[in-house]
């Protein structure tokens, strides 16, 4: 019988956890909601942590591996997570550990040579169930956009792509880690595409470009971890979302600026065809001063350059940027730019 895991709260306990995590070549991340562990004979035998819906830093002393320790850690993290209001939990791990998590009823969402993504709690099924009414017969296309904020470039992409398919699914990134809040990003995307009758809007929940599938996207740091994450993100889309909605083509704008997004497009180019999904890259809309991007819109907003903004965003976005909410964001952006 393995001892139950309990929450590590004292500085000494957390130091033990840090030592164990680091000893296994993992990075001890600060700012987790819960760190749990199992002590045996006064020594920390196993530890793991939870940050929101993501379970991480599973580290087990070599002489305790392969037993019931993993179940004990996951049980306690899930219990604490549910008490904090989370319903579904993700684990991002090495592919050789995926099976151990599957044995305790985690579902494998995506895997590739470097990493695997698993979920506990049936979130993906619930997400798909919730959107079952949006399924239609035919050949469909899709894009995933953050829309931070929605620009004429996004609008051009959706207009061009939606003409080529029966239904066009526009997924708006749900994760609230961008300058513009999700509610505003979603509403501006809806208003800018209202004239297109075959466009269906939906949020990505946690199943594309989220803290679970692709946290590095929000850090804009292109490293090995980011590459592994985008592989999983694209595979999750191709293996689960695309077949559910009948999506045969994913559309993206060409990416001239941002290295992370360019690499993400590259991952799609490589992976999607393996799942029978085509990738179509649409030339980015060019304004007077080169390709339009949300980054340039944010820069212009920080300077309150509404002449430039008018040439880069659709009417609903412009109205939002002029609103009290938009003004507050402009001040935040200007302060951040000034601070650099």
């Amino acid at each position: 019988m393995t001892a139950a895991a309990s929450r590590l709260a004292t500085a000494g306990e957390v130091a033990d956890a840090r030592r164990l995590v680091t000893s296994q070549g993992l990075l001890f991340e600060e700012g987790c909601d819960d760190v749990v562990g199992i002590y045996e004979g006064g020594r920390l035998a196993a530890t793991a942590a939870r940050a929101g819906c993501v379970l991480k830093m599973f580290a087990v002393e070599p002489d305790h591996q392969g037993g019931a320790v993993l179940g004990a850690l996951a049980t306690e993290l899930v219990r604490l997570g549910r008490a904090a209001g989370e319903e579904s939990f993700f684990v991002f791990t090495r592919p050789e550990h995926a099976q151990s998590f599957e044995a305790i009823h985690f579902r494998l969402l995506a895997t590739h040579s470097r990493a695997a993504l698993l979920e506990f709690g049936g979130g993906l099924e619930a997400y798909l169930d919730r959107h079952a009414a949006l399924r239609r017969p035919g050949r469909h296309g899709a894009s995933v956009v953050n829309g931070n904020p929605f620009t004429l470039g996004h609008q051009h992409l959706v207009e061009t792509a939606s003409r080529r398919v029966d239904t066009f699914y526009l997924f708006v990134v749900r994760e609230d880690r961008s300058v513009f809040p999700f509610a505003a990003r979603f509403r501006l995307a809806a208003e800018a595409t209202r004239h297109l009758p075959n466009v269906v809007l939906l949020d990505t929940s946690r199943y594309a470009v989220s803290a679970a599938t692709f946290p590095r996207y929000f850090l804009k740091r292109l490293d090995e971890v980011a590459v592994a994450q985008m592989q999983l993100d694209v595979r999750l889309f191709a293996a689960h979302l695309a077949p559910f909605f009948g999506i045969g083509t994913r559309f993206v704008g060409t990416e001239p600026f941002d290295a992370t997004t360019a690499a993400y497009n590259g991952a799609m180019r490589e992976v999607l065809p393996q799942y029978g999904v085509a990738l179509v890259e649409i030339e980015r809309l060019k304004g007077d001063e080169g390709p339009i991007s949300a980054t340039r819109v944010r820069t212009a907003l920080a300077r309150r350059d509404f002449d430039a903004l008018r040439r880069m965003v659709p009417e609903p976005t412009l109205a939002y940027l002029r609103s009290a909410e938009g003004t507050a964001l402009a001040e935040k952006l200007a302060a951040a730019a000034g601070g650099k």
């Binding site: 179940g71 004990a72 996951a74 049980t75 219990r79 044995a103 305790i104 009823h105």
Partner: protein, 87 residues
């Protein structure tokens, strides 16, 4: 007994199960089990017996089982129900 709020019981260990109950308009039982093929009906029967004993007529009951025996199933379901009913 009425399921007033979300509650859970049990562990993910082998020979145990986790039970999560939450309020819902109608009664629904979802079972995930390593021995689902052979024992889903038997597990459902045990859960229904506990629900009936407590007069529960509505709620979502989600069970994740790793080969628990009958008495463990009954005890975990009962514990989850009591936690869900507490004020």
């Amino acid at each position: 007994m009425v399921i007033a709020r979300k509650a859970s019981a049990g562990t993910m260990q082998s020979s145990d199960l986790t039970v999560v109950v939450e309020p819902a308009g109608r009664l629904e039982i979802r079972i995930e089990s390593t021995v689902k093929k052979q024992y889903e009906d038997a597990i459902r029967e045990r859960i229904e017996a506990v629900l009936a004993r407590h007069g529960v007529t509505a709620g979502l009951v989600q069970v994740t089982d790793r080969g628990a025996l009958d008495y463990a199933i009954e005890a975990r379901v009962e514990t989850a129900l009591r936690r869900a009913a507490e004020v």
